[in-house]
């Protein structure tokens, strides 16, 4: 009887959380369309979306500035959340996250190189560089942490990430110094910002993101098996090498796309899977779904906070997420969970 009711709750719980996540996203999206330097009310937002009059300034602010920005936050947050969940699953490591893996620094380095060295200034050009740089840095960190005895441990992963980040940012800042214009162009992107950018990049990357997200959702079962340990997963019939390759490609594609769209946004990918895990338990089929929703809402929420706290100026979303995320990482390190995973 007891086990039945538990099973019932376990089935019911995740659905509830997913519904709640979807609701949060809706509420936050409306807030994101409402809040900003130009005051707007609900009626304006409604007509900006459904009965758009280009002559009305307030409506075009909502339509041309806030709507793209909101979409951007939702997509990038979703990518980061799922990327974090899969990274943590495949490295079997609670500290897996794009920021920790040096992915942000890799993207920044490649993008600045492309702008400065190859004179590529259109998003369509440098988005692929950001993507390649992110993928390269992520793989390097993973392989360094995996080499040597003892496999991937949290500390090795974090240290390898920190050093690759330091190395790449030294090169990035040198390139920026050689050229003041690039510095002026890049410094806002480097802070992680959603203002006036990313739509073109997002259009280019949408097919890739869609494929990777579908792949991620299908991967839940395999991640569950892998969570039991490599040997057990293998004895359950999983092909470890293939699985690693696919999971790694998916998570790096998602993280790299997010960086290309929104700039180096820290800690979302790290924190989201932990929140999801604490809500729905260790089942990766639910963790991936919920990570999408939480990731979107967290990034959107951070963006709204950034617009409100120093109004009328804005705090870049990457700075807000670091301010929230770093204390979370410290909490995580201090809690017992680090040893358990």
């Amino acid at each position: 009887m007891i086990s039945q009711s538990r099973a019932g709750r376990a089935r019911f719980g995740p659905v509830l959380w997913v519904a709640l996540g979807a609701l949060t996203i809706c509420v936050l999206s409306v807030c994101s369309l409402l809040v900003g330097a130009v005051p707007t009310d609900l009626a304006t937002v409604w007509s900006a979306i459904f009965r758009f009059e280009p002559s009305e300034t307030e409506q075009s602010v909502v339509r041309h500035l806030r709507l793209p920005r909101t979409t951007l936050a939702l997509v990038a947050g979703c990518c980061l959340g799922v990327a974090g969940a899969i990274t943590q699953g495949v490295t079997r490591n609670p500290l897996g996250g794009p920021g920790i893996l040096g992915i942000n620094a890799g993207a920044a380095f490649a993008m600045v190189t492309a702008i400065h060295g190859l004179n590529i200034v259109t998003p369509a050009g440098y988005v692929w560089f950001a993507f390649l740089g992110a993928a390269g840095a992520g793989s390097l960190v993973y392989f360094v942490a995996r080499a040597g005895s003892g496999g991937v441990t949290p500390v090795k992963l974090a240290l390898a990430g920190a050093v690759v980040t330091a190395l790449l940012s030294a090169w990035t800042s040198t390139l920026l110094l050689l050229d003041e214009e690039t510095l002026d162009e890049a410094r806002f992107w480097l802070a992680g910002s959603l203002v006036g950018r990313g739509t073109e990049e997002m259009r280019l990357l949408t097919p890739l993101i869609a494929v990777a997200l579908v792949g991620a959702l299908l991967m839940g079962g395999a991640l569950n098996a892998f969570a039991l340990g490599e040997e057990r997963a293998a004895s359950l019939g999983q092909r470890i090498g293939t699985f690693r390759f696919f999971a790694g490609s998916i998570s790096i594609s998602l993280a790299a796309s997010a960086v290309a769209i929104a700039g180096p946004v820290a800690f979302i990918g790290l924190a989201v899977p932990h929140i999801a895990r604490s809500l729905v338990g260790p089942d990766y089929r639910w963790i991936t779904v919920l990570s999408m929703l939480i990731g979107s809402s967290l990034l959107l929420g951070a963006d709204i906070v950034g617009r409100v706290v120093v109004s009328p100026r804005e705090l870049q979303v990457g700075i807000v997420t670091a301010l929230i995320g770093a204390p979370f990482l410290i909490y995580l390190v201090r809690s017992r969970k680090l040893a358990e995973l």
Partner: protein, 376 residues
């Protein structure tokens, strides 16, 4: 073809560079063969126990350092007849090269040496204090703490004289917060590294905020400083650095005894009558202060504090007072060499020295990480 608007390295530079590398490798190899021998020096009731081997190594490093110092005076963009620069620096003041040598090259060379000295000793203190070869002030965020305060002073247009103090306050506060945040019935190196990385990220985002908040003219100064550059250092930096070195180095050497007892483990150390937490806190503040003065002078220079103590340990093993001094000297040598490479590699364009230390230190560190067998 990627071009960055940089000239190709000149053949004479490449010749110097590769012969320098070969000489360095040869000397490291030789120095391993020097036999260890304990000696005692007595003055009445005072006695000093030292290892003859480390003394020899210190002396030879100092000789090398002096040669490189002279070489540093001779090299630069402005053409000066051979040996004229050395003469100008030491005895022949009244000639047309006086400004170039005494106001540009001499402070730069001295700052490089003193900064390298401070960073290397700071790194050695952190590494032996926490019993982990992978800890250094740049990885765990001490440099970022100093950088945040200093960048703020620079970008807000504050007085340059405030820079060292701001950097010190930033570094010390960061060091103490990392220490207390990773405290949990004791300090585990792994936890401290992870907390440090988190704090580092937090402070780095603070630096980013300062960078986007202020107008581009001021940000350029902060950005140049942040890349770790010896460009445009003056006698002011040399003054601050030498005072700090003169005050802090003897302090570090005095505390070395305590440090070696602490390395036996907290239980044994407190059994031997040490107030473990206070001693450790004092050492951390000292190490942070050394990092801070260096950061204030040249910016958050990565990898020197990580790399140099590690290289010295490969040769001499255990950290003692003498080994600490040797680490400082090797740090001075290393940073001076890096700065010469940064100046000459793409001459006439000067690179920030931070990129050279990162280019050498980054791969080396990843290599140690791959090889490390400790349960991290």
């Amino acid at each position: 073809m990627i071009t960055f608007g940089l000239a190709n390295p000149s053949p004479s530079f490449l010749l110097y560079f590769f012969s320098g590398v070969l000489v360095a490798l040869f000397l490291v190899n030789k120095s391993r063969a020097v036999a260890s021998k304990a000696c005692v020096l007595r003055f009445g009731k005072l006695s000093l126990l030292f290892d003859l081997r480390i003394l020899k190594l210190c002396i030879s490093t100092s000789v090398l350092l002096f040669l490189l110092f002279l070489f540093g005076l001779e090299t630069g963009e402005y053409p000066i007849p051979r040996l004229k620069a050395i003469a100008t620096a030491f005895w022949d003041r009244n000639n047309e090269f006086e400004f170039v040598v005494n106001s540009l090259r001499l402070p730069r060379v001295l700052t490089a040496m003193l900064t390298g000295f401070c960073l290397a000793i700071s790194g050695a203190l952190f590494q032996s204090l926490l019993g982990n070869p992978l800890v250094s002030p740049d990885v765990i965020g001490i440099n970022s703490g100093a950088a945040l305060c200093a960048v703020f002073v620079l970008a807000a247009g504050g007085d340059i004289g405030l820079l060292p103090w701001a950097a010190f306050v930033g570094a010390a506060v960061t060091a103490l917060s990392i220490y207390s945040l990773s405290w949990k019935t004791g300090i585990s190196p792994g936890r401290l590294i992870l907390v440090g990385i988190a704090v580092n990220a937090l402070l780095a985002s603070g630096v980013t905020y300062v960078m986007v908040k202020y107008p581009i003219e001021r940000v350029v100064a902060a950005a140049r400083w942040q890349a770790g550059s010896l460009f445009g250092v003056s006698w002011t930096e040399v003054g601050t650095l030498s005072v700090s070195v003169i005050v802090l180095t003897p302090l570090a050497l005095l505390l070395m005894r305590r440090l070696r007892i602490l390395q036996l483990g907290d239980d044994i150390a407190s059994g031997l009558g040490l107030r473990v937490e206070w001693e450790r806190m004092g050492l951390i503040v000292l190490a942070a202060a050394l990092a801070a003065v260096a950061v204030a002078a040249v910016g958050p220079l990565g990898f020197v504090a990580l790399l140099v103590p590690h290289m010295v340990r490969l040769v001499v093993g255990q950290v003692t007072g003498g080994a600490l001094l040797l680490t400082g000297l090797v740090g001075a040598l290393f940073l001076l060499a890096c700065d010469l490479v940064a100046q000459q590699l793409f001459a006439p364009t000067t690179l920030p020295v931070g990129i050279i230390t990162a280019a050498i230190g980054g791969p080396y560190f990843l290599f140690i990480l791959v090889r490390s067998n400790n349960a991290l």
